[in-house]
Symmetry: C2
Subunit: 303 residues, 2 copies
């Protein structure tokens, strides 16, 4: 099953007719991970009929409203829907204090726990891992402390060669080890190399999220070769000066990062409300890096 | 020009495909007044292409999230749009403390002032007036302090009878007084009664908003005879017990209030997410009070 990225909001600070503020849902193996949670995130999920009972972790890039004003509504609704599983929110220093008082006031008797995990947006470190992924912070260059996120899927199991497993009479209890790459030793002491018992695991995927940020080449070694890069492209080239002063990127700059980091595919988003038609942004990005897509609200991108 | 009520959200706590949480915009004469501001209010306004530069006052009924989670986003966006006019937010005790810290953190250097005016939701008193309206609180019966709002349009100017004004050579400087109902005394000392100089003013309108509330007959004398009543109708009759325990109303109860208060028209809203088709709620209300309409997101109701 390929990884899926669902865009809940591809807009920036001011919502438009077609773009909600930033939020997205990454589906990887059997898990969901949310990245940013702008106002209306839960509304978009409802509009799409999304089930998000596999969501355990939300990653907040920075504490600007268009990336986190939807948190309190989502947390509150989870309570009304009788969620019981812990919800982890990973975000910059200060996020706990900001939201804990709101939760205390608005979400009495939540039937589940909200656990904030703060991290230093200035370091490129692993901030989370589970059975399926590791997540690294990506220091970005914005007006407030801001971090992107690098999702690296962990190695998948190798595929069992059923015929050979039967031939060597490998006990069921050892199958998980074999899938993980172990060799097998028969009761007679014969070593059967793993390659004879399995075929290669499916390819793993990687995803990098870089928003909000000015053009920042320091991210390149961190995101090198990812399968999919989401990079903000708030402005067109004609607004390059404004992009710099507000610490955002142009579509061309996003594409330059994608090109230099040799990524598989680039998805641009976080569009300024001034672009009712975002084709211009796509055209500008494509002139630098052809394998570029436009992020659109409620669209699904497989990779 | 008739008064206009624009429904931005007719839903309740959980948003649905078609209903955002509660918010509405009342347009009266040359002014706009917002009532409640659930998550996504600014998004709905964008979707409708609404201009809200005549909005100076927001009235918050109670501090449940589905009635106020949209405030911080709206306040923040007004800042980005370089609003300069003061914005008044009228709400229950405690609203200032809740939102001032958020504003301080998220809305640095706002180019306009946000002024909170708290009121006691337990009293039926005038909480606001301007040239066009008076607004009274309506104590409601809910799980937290909660108030409805009664908007009474002030008397309009009488219409000038141009022929008679010319005949009596009424000076321009006195026309405003004449429109307001004053008699005129000619230079010769003759008293010209106002009725000879003017015709009757247009009818004024009144609007009452009652949400959230259990069935509560004490509102009846307060809202007696209003032109339009918005009353919450969270549940159908089959959920009467749940309505009582959560301190909400059924559609039948909303209609009973409308009937007993002899209102012009009833608009029901604040529908539970369980009713994908709200026709049942409308049918139940109409069986008690036929002049009932269903509030729908992004619809306009003139009265």
């Amino acid at each position: 099953m390929p990884a899926k990225l669902i865009i809940l909001g591809a807009g920036s600070a001011l919502p438009t007719r077609s773009n909600f503020p930033t939020s997205q849902l990454l589906e990887l193996r059997d898990k969901q991970y949310m990245i940013d949670c702008g106002e209306g995130t839960q509304i978009r999920m409802r509009q799409m009929g999304l089930k998000i009972n596999r969501l355990g972790h939300i990653f907040i890039s920075h504490l600007h409203g268009d990336h986190c004003f939807g948190l309190i509504g989502l947390i509150s609704s989870f309570g009304m829907l009788n969620r019981t599983a812990d919800l982890y929110i990973h975000g910059p220093f200060g996020i706990t204090k900001l939201f804990e008082s709101q939760i205390a006031f608005f979400c009495e008797n939540l039937p589940y726990k909200v656990i904030f995990e703060e991290f230093d947006t200035r370091s490129n470190v692993m901030i989370f891992e589970d059975r399926s992924v590791t997540v690294f912070s990506i220091p970005l260059k914005h007006r407030v402390p801001c971090s992107g996120f690098l999702f690296n899927e962990k190695a998948r199991d190798r595929h069992i060669n059923r015929e050979m497993i039967n031939f060597y009479k490998v006990p069921v209890a050892q199958l998980n080890l074999i899938k993980a790459g172990a060799d097998f030793i028969t009761p007679d002491g014969e070593l059967v190399p793993n390659e004879r018992l399995t075929t290669a695991a499916d390819k793993t995927v990687s995803y990098a999220y870089c928003s909000d940020t000015a053009y920042h080449e320091k991210v390149i070694p961190i995101i090198k070769g990812v399968d999919l890069l989401y990079h903000e492209a708030t402005f067109a080239e004609s607004e390059k000066v404004r992009a710099k002063s507000t610490m955002h990127s142009t579509a061309t700059q996003a594409a330059t990062i994608a090109l230099k980091a040799d990524v598989g595919k680039l998805l641009i988003g976080h569009f300024s409300a001034r672009y009712a038609d975002q084709q211009l942004l796509l055209d500008e990005a494509k002139s630098v890096y052809s394998n570029t897509l436009l992020a659109q609200d409620m669209c699904l991108y497989e990779f």
